[in-house]
Symmetry: C2
């Protein structure tokens, strides 16, 4: 166990307060960390085994009727490992935005078609913004303040990005005014 991946710490963090199955972890990730750190089954299940083998979590069988089910909870070693990671400076900062990539190369299109790209980006960001707002509405009662801070950050960011797209649309139209319509 030389070095855990950030995804391993997602799991550690999510089983810290309550025991969870791999399926539940995936579901929670898809409603929370997904927006800045996604995880797929292909990562979660093997990682649960690694972490259990390393003694950072322990699994226990907890079947629902005839359907097998293993829930994991964190160990004292796991808690220590999680805190140690939290105290290290973060290393990974990545963004993949196909829309910005298209905008970057928009010169290859006839003048005026670039607005469609910023409009698509704006629409997508507003959609995510709405998703995050509905998550916020659901989670009003939780006491842990940090997930709330991060969630509000996501809401503010998607709004900022959408506004930037709007400004860029105007700027592009100002340079190619013949496409003002539509």
């Amino acid at each position: 166990m030389e070095q855990l991946s950030p995804t391993a710490y997602v799991i550690l963090g999510l089983v810290r307060n309550e025991p969870r199955s791999g399926y539940e972890i995936k579901a929670v990730v898809d409603n929370s960390t997904r927006f800045f750190w996604a995880a797929s089954y292909g990562q979660i299940y093997p990682e649960l085994k690694n972490l259990a083998e390393a003694g950072l979590i322990v699994g226990s069988d907890s079947p629902t009727g005839g359907r097998r089910r293993t829930v994991y909870e964190i160990t004292a070693d796991g808690e220590e490992e999680l805190r140690a990671w939290l105290r290290q400076p973060p290393h990974t900062f990545e963004m993949r935005e196909e829309g910005l990539l298209k905008l970057f190369f928009a010169d290859a299109l006839p003048a005026g078609e670039a607005v469609a790209i910023v409009r698509a980006m704006r629409a997508h960001r507003l959609e995510v913004n709405a998703q995050l707002r509905s998550i916020e509405a659901l989670k009003g009662e939780i006491d842990d303040p940090y997930p709330k801070i991060v969630l509000r950050g996501g809401i503010e960011f998607t709004q900022w990005f959408a506004d930037w797209c709007e400004r860029m649309e105007e700027e592009i139209l100002a340079a190619a005014p013949e496409k003002r319509s539509s």
Copy 2:
């Protein structure tokens, strides 16, 4: 050639106006699209072969002394493929921010230690902001407006993010005022 990856279009876009070697493509990516779409040698060289095989680019030997060197340029088919992609709505929007992940789980740390996380995020964003500004200073003369728009977007975004970190630092300190020092 069922479906090209966005990285393939990065290559198509970058060899569109001037012939470039794989090495040059990597260097240009690292100073431009890296901030929203990175590419490694492990992608670029195999992809150059795929694209050449598909007839979207053509390579020609252009050695420097005894050092072999292959530069690629786009074909008419490649230009068509690039434009067709630009007209499709973007699909990929991903972000991996280890700092936000740590902030999300900061409740596992003693009160007050969360400020270190937002400070580290802020410092990193300001660093990237400075990098982008120096790139902007170098590229003042280029006429293609779209890379400039994207670059300014990156500058504004990193600034916005740094400011958000600052606001969150104040908010966290307001909740745990005993850590005001340092």
